[in-house]
Symmetry: C2
Subunit: 209 residues, 2 copies
């Protein structure tokens, strides 16, 4: 808590980081529910409008490193080699995404859950992210497998894959200092899903559906 708090004159590029720090401090000092956006902006030495230049809602501040990683998903998907079978491409994308996440990037809502007390908000805002990732993976799987984006198998596979990803990542985040590598936790969780859907996903488009 010795970091300097910004008060004007600070270069624009650091406003985002200053807001993140201010929010983290306030959440730890007084809990998530009692912290307002105005308080965060005031602590960061910026106006309320500046807050909304960087964040859409207060709950975005529960997801900082995770959101940075998820923003890379389109790039990760585009970089998956075209020659891979759909199930292997899905696996590759999930492991690459995990590999990009910073080792210390554990949401405060998990690492400081008792202090911050944001469980319901964290779950609800997590669900939005879950559904967003599942939709992106669904489009990717559809394109790679020659199926339609509304295909039931594509939907089930992408849903199950994200659930396994979240399970692996949450287990890793809650495992304490000996948590090892995220990519290993994710591999352990998602490999069976990719394996299980492989015979159907990799067989090409369904003949009638």
């Amino acid at each position: 808590m010795t970091k300097s708090s910004g008060r004007g004159g600070r270069p624009r590029a650091s406003s985002r980081r200053t807001l993140e720090d201010a929010a983290g401090e306030l959440f730890l000092e007084q809990g998530y529910a009692r912290t307002t956006i105005d308080q965060i902006a005031q602590r960061a030495g910026v106006g309320r409008n500046t807050f909304f230049n960087y964040f859409a809602t207060k709950s975005d501040l529960l997801w900082l490193d995770v959101d940075d990683t998820l923003r890379a998903l389109p790039e990760v998907l585009a970089a998956v080699p075209a020659g891979l079978a759909p199930s292997a491409a899905l696996r590759e994308a999930l492991l690459e995404l995990a590999a990009r996440h910073p080792h210390r990037g554990i949401p405060l809502a998990l690492s400081q859950r008792e202090t911050i007390g944001a469980e319901a908000e964290f779950r609800a805002s997590g669900l939005e992210r879950f559904l967003g990732v599942a939709a992106e993976l669904g489009e990717f799987l559809a394109a790679r497998s020659g199926r339609s984006p509304g295909d039931r198998l594509v939907h089930a596979a992408s849903s199950a894959a994200v659930a396994a990803l979240v399970s692996g990542a949450a287990g890793w985040a809650l495992a304490g200092v000996e948590r090892g590598a995220l990519v290993e936790a994710v591999r352990e969780a998602v490999d069976p899903v990719c394996l299980g859907y492989a015979p159907l996903l990799d067989a090409g488009p369904a003949v009638t559906r």
Copy 2:
């Protein structure tokens, strides 16, 4: 909308059903957000306290048939033959659960989504149910596989299985009048998950973990 609205003197056993009907009418007439618990109780001809005898929140009224089915989960799990391997036991439980659900039991929030406009509430209250079912399946899988309830593989498998279950059930619910049997849609979605985790789940407890 020709059903009689209750006004006192009605036998206690039907208060629940009367409240369900009143809520459904009001949601369709004026949307979910604008309907209050007091309005539902008034339309049903009962007091506010009676409402809370049957439902904890307004959002419970979005899940009627689904909640009836989910309440049977402990019974379904207990009835799964002891001789089945853990992955086969998981599959059996999910299919039996789907088989018990009434064919017309599609949540109004899905079948009348534009009219009712409860998407955010439906998602959030659905997440609570998702996590509850995943926890129940996790305990079941742990017991059947000789692993601990906190085991990572058990957590990933139960999460992925529920995600596939929800995917299959949602696809079925949204498929319109030619939706076929729920159990078939669920089978198609969850079979790959059970297949994929089978080699690990069915191999017995991990030696070191």
